[in-house]
Amino acid sequence: MDALCIAGFLGSGKTTILLEAARALTDGGARVAVIENEIGEVGVDGGYVREQGLPVRELFGGCICCTLQVGLVETLRSVRDSYGPDWVVIEPTGLAAPGDILGLVADTIEGLDLVRVLTVVDAERWSMLLEVVEPLITSQLESADVVAVNKADAVDDQQLAAVLAAVRRLSGDALVLPVSAATGAGMPALLRAMS
């Protein structure tokens, strides 16, 4: 079983990209299961992903990188044993530090071959986010394998170039790709980079 963690700040486009990634994996013949985590006590994305025909487990009322670590480990084991997916795709809350999830699952889940982190960045709100939650954004970029700079359709070329340059400075060796999950631009390249 492989795991793909789709991290990124609240509202950056994680669920939209998750559905595309899951569809691409399923089209390639893989069995895919999804784990959705919401910090509030009411789940929203899980129902939506389920309506798209994917098996989903939901964790509410906390964050799987800290307060719900035990829940994540139990859920991953349960999904592995009951469903036997080739891929489990995890959407943490937008406040999660994916590095903490990476360390946790790599150490505790037997039978996990590969854990990839895709971090989604909201190009439209980039400077607004840096102003208020820069340490969180930085931590989400530091542990990424691939970074999708999303909502490219909502900014002009100059703004997009500036965000891409700033994100590349903060993302170490990660591959940084501009995409628009809304229009589909850049999505084939992103999906290829993750497979």
Binding site: L10, G11, I39, E41, Y48, C66, T67, L95, R125, E131
Partner: protein, 146 residues
């Protein structure tokens, strides 16, 4: 909110989250999540349900702005009834919400699902801000959890 802790209130029940230490203190998220039962009397057309939702989101955006909100994490959820459902997502107070879906026939009752995470607002104020925005904006009877 103090130190590395994240205090999180659900009605009268006060939980102290173990930590959200990667979230800096100056940028403490305020969280409110709830389901509310909605009663449309007389039953509303699908378009009217969507307009009520839009008025609620506009009223909530103004109220959050006035309350000092510095950043919206998200305001998302749905309105689901027998004849269909609406999903909404908002990430800024100065833009229209993304709304998808709809209701086919007249709607007499539905459930509102709501998940709000904002910055710069006292979390203890959120339930009243949301419920007041619904009452003033949507003008539709709602029963909120205690």
């Amino acid at each position: 909110m103090s130190g590395a802790g994240h205090e999180h209130r659900h009605g009268d029940d006060r939980h102290r989250h173990e930590h959200l230490s990667h979230v800096p203190d100056a940028a403490s998220p305020a969280v409110y999540a709830a389901r509310a039962g909605l009663l449309f009397d007389p039953p509303a057309r699908g378009d009217d349900v969507e307009q009520a939702l839009r008025r609620f989101l506009a009223a909530l955006s103004s109220a959050l702005s006035a309350a000092g909100c510095t950043l919206v994490g998200h305001i998302k959820g749905g309105v689901n009834g027998a004849g269909g459902g609406l999903a909404f997502h908002l990430t800024r107070l100065d833009a229209a919400p993304a709304i998808a879906g709809g209701h086919a026939g007249p709607v007499s009752d539905a459930e509102l699902t709501l998940n709000v995470i904002v910055f710069g607002v006292d979390e203890a104020r959120l339930p009243a801000l949301v419920q007041h925005a619904w009452a003033e904006g949507a003008g539709v009877a709602a029963s909120w959890p205690d």
